[in-house]
Amino acid sequence: MKKILTTCTYCGCGCGLYLQVEGNEVIGVTPSREHPISRGSLCVKGWNIHEFIQHPDRLRTPLIKKKGGFEEVSWDEAFNLIAEKFKRIKKRFGPDSLGVLASAKCTNEENYLLSKFTRAVLGTNNIDHCARLCHSSTVVGLATAFGSGAMTNSINEIEEADCILVAGSNTTLQHPQIGSRILNAVEKGASLIVVDPRTTQLVSFALLHLKPRPGTDVAWINGMMHVILKKGLANLDFVKKRTENFPALKRKLAKFTPQYVERITGIPKEDLKEAAGIYARAKRAILIYSMGITQHVTGTDNVLSLANLTLLTSHVGRPYTGLNPLRGQNNVQGACDMGALPDFYSGYQKVSNAPCRRKFERAWNVKLPQNKGLTIIEMVREAGRIKGMYIMGENPALSDPDITHTVEALKSLDFLVVQDIFLTETAQLADVVLPGASFAEKDGSFTSTERRVQRVRKSINPVGEAKADWEIICDLSKKMGYPLNYESPEEVMEEIALLTPIYGGIYYDRLEKTFGLQWPCWNKKHPGTTFLHRGSFSRGKGHFTPIDYKPAKELPSKKYSFILTTGRLYYHWHTGSMTRRSSTLHREYPEGFIEMNLQDAQRLGIKNKEMVRVISRRGKITIQALVGELIIPGTVFIPFHFKEAAANLLTNPVLDPKAKIPEYKVCAVRIERIER
């Protein structure tokens, strides 16, 4: 047996753990105690991470669909077919008829290479990944307000805060280490305010729980600011010195009186006033938010409003004080940083910016496309225009909103390649399936939610004939006539550091001796950055954007009288391709459920654990009802992990106009009792 230090592949906390290897088998896990995040503990997913790695269902050889079924083929045959098809599509319909999805599960190096492959070889900027579905509104919103869209602080700073406001994040379940830091802070005396329509575990430790109706976030945030201004709790000195556009905001806030806000959100006006007071008066206030804020048609508006709130109270740009979007996937921060986005190269260098483009053209020795590419949802929605797609480690056939439409669109493609570790719902639709390597089978790096770039280390050989994803990309690129010659991921990181200022000082030898470096890290001497915007914002002055409240796109009606909100469970990860194959995790929640309030259930004559039908304008599912008081009346919740009762058959694919994030958190549904 031996133990190999690596980074957890589930959530963005980025725990350090050792994989216990015997022969070529991973048979256990040990948390790192020295690691600043894991500190000797892991959540249930990390503790059982070995269970999926060598599962018998792993893809072991390339597959080509022939006569409706998959046939095992050699790598050569698979690559030849892909190269030929992509070349043909490109020639006939132009490069922008091809689209690529990168992966927040894969390493930085792999996402960088895939972005390079898409732009330099396929010749299009049509590359995106699931960050679009979780935090694109953060990237857009915080870029506008501060100039940089990431957690302003580090995870361990949370413990030192004296006020923590958590909005739309089920932190103990989704970011267990961060949840644990919040608990520690509360034990030390911090005041916790939770804003969530559901009664999450965190609520047990909260001083105040505000329960807004889903989709009314701008209203309560504006309401808090209204109160803060009125009580004279704003830091006008800070506003004057470090921000711009305050008068416009002030005008906008005038009408958001607590009474008005109560009517929209359902939050009692006294609670709103109290929350505003506690937050504004705090010395070290951490604001944490996640998908409850971002996954709305008004996602960008919500983020901008939170940014306004922190600027108004000067609760940003200091230690233990700031605005912190929690990134979900292990490497969703990194996939964004690496430019797996239609409008950015690595390090958020704009594709539309000529000097940036010229820099990458010189380095990659090829002419690059200038127009912004399509986002995930747009690629699928425009399946007529997109003829061929390459999907690495994503499962849109279960994770997109309104998947009936997504599946149709993927089916209608001329050619679809999926690279994954399991035959996911999306892979089943592919013409060619390529077996990638799990995180335990390759070298590379992940960037956690606190911007910490850390090493992933190869512990065992890939299963069967599977290959590390970076090798697959290099091999395919060679077949397409543009050799990507890298000896190792380390060499890829050297190129990243060279071309990406915020990663400028990140080299493997430095990651070797530390538990990672937090970007921005400008050069080899730079120690990395614990918290952002000290002294001045990335964009110079903090920018206030006045925002009006706009209701969600699909409101309850007579026929569809409930608001459906979706999300995840603690034991499962996204579409469940790994966790549902992990016996310990799967056993905890073998099937999906709909959470609903007792009052609603009684009215409809539904008993706890009874099967019900849930219907939206887009689809219907049959699912078990969990009846209780953990959710407000009129709102229901379904986790999206379960393909047998897929929440995304119901969700509404409307997009935030700026960030193009879909509204996963609000759609209207009807619930029917199944007569026996």
Partner: protein
């Protein structure tokens, strides 16, 4: 039995010699600077000035994830492991665990009881009986250690094969079993008999170590209060809301022995039966096939965990289900842990 002295400068040569004949598992430094038990490649890997490891060496006897047997087509017999036609992948090389702490070794003694309860668990005992334990007592108990209260440290009186006490430039070596005696005899040129002064020094060292404990709990008082139902339900409720169901408290605990059995289909008419570590904090641990769960509420699960360790196990095995290693203090995401709960009950 006679006690011996091993000079520290002779420790590595001894380990090097032993390494030729045994698989040696010892504390080594992992890449992140963590000290973990692992097989050594060279004696230079061994780190002997360590605070206790993140996890006990339990996994070398009871792995986190292990195949019990596999089957193919009709070659499937429902028989105990080692039955005909079954592949029993067991490691049988002779092993030494060097530097195991007394609390962790007590954990092994505890597991011995469980794995021989209904029948002798072959997988466990094959490994167990092939292992020789060289203990390293603790001169410096850590912040969360309470083995003194648990009666499992900082030094043991019996039960071990060999126990070492750090006397600065030398180790005081005690023999506790026939296996231990044979080993010392075979390598006797590394040792010399301990003098009367050294014997005295050993006793002093043990006393000194015992005085250094910061954590002290009263197992008997706690058990009595629990048996008499003097613990308010609200305590369990307070703990339950903090528990994040990670399972870590069971995984890191030297005495937790629960496992789950799973079958994995590996091909057409082919499969394997595996066992994995389990934890009583999971709802799936007690949920029946039909969906009914006698411990549906987390409060009941948390409560049961502490009752098991502090009340039922002492009744069943004559040993506390906690050896005072303090690991659950480090690992719990909800700051629930044995000493904290015991203090709450003692109040």
């Amino acid at each position: 039995m006679r006690d011996w002295i091993l000079y520290k400068e002779h420790t590595f040569p001894l380990i090097r010699r032993l390494n030729k004949h045994f698989e040696i598992i010892a504390p080594v430094e992992g890449k992140g600077g963590d000290i973990v038990f692992d097989p050594i490649t060279s004696e230079h890997d061994v780190v002997l000035d360590f605070t206790n490891t993140i996890m006990p060496p339990k996994r070398f006897f009871f792995p986190q994830f292990e195949t019990l047997f596999s089957w193919k087509g009709k070659e499937f017999t429902l028989a105990p492991p080692r039955g005909a036609g079954l592949t029993v992948p067991l490691k049988t090389k002779r092993r030494i665990i060097f530097g195991i702490r007394p609390c962790d070794f007590s954990g092994i003694l505890f597991l011995d009881g469980y794995y021989a309860l209904a029948y002798e668990d072959n997988y466990y005992f094959t490994r167990r009986n092939n292992t020789l334990f060289i203990l390293l007592g603790c001169n410096e108990p850590q912040e969360h250690c309470f083995c003194l209260s648990a009666g499992t440290g900082p030094f043991l009186k019996r039960g071990f094969d060999i126990q070492l006490t750090d006397l600065k430039d030398r180790y005081y070596v005690q023999i506790g079993s026939r296996k231990g005696k044979e080993l010392i005899e075979r390598y006797d040129y590394f040792f010399r008999p301990a003098s009367r002064e050294e014997k005295e020094e050993n006793i002093q060292t043990v006393r000194e170590a015992e005085r250094k404990f910061k954590e002290e709990v009263d197992f008997d008082l706690v058990a009595k209060k629990m048996e008499n139902e003097e613990v308010p339900e609200s305590l369990w409720q307070e703990l339950a809301v903090r528990c994040q169901n990670c399972g870590g408290c069971s995984y890191v605990c030297p005495t937790c022995f629960c496992f789950n059995l799973i079958d994995r289909v590996t091909g057409k008419e082919e499969g394997k039966r595996m066992r994995t570590w389990d934890s009583c904090t999971f709802s799936g641990y007690t949920r029946m096939a039909g969906g009914y769960n006698p411990r549906e509420e987390k409060k009941d699960r948390v409560k049961r965990r502490f009752y098991h360790k502090l009340v039922y196990e002492p009744q069943q095995f004559g040993m506390h289900g906690c050896v005072g290693c303090g690991r659950c203090v480090t690992t719990c995401l909800g700051n629930i842990n044995m000493p904290r709960v015991m203090h709450e009950i003692m109040k």
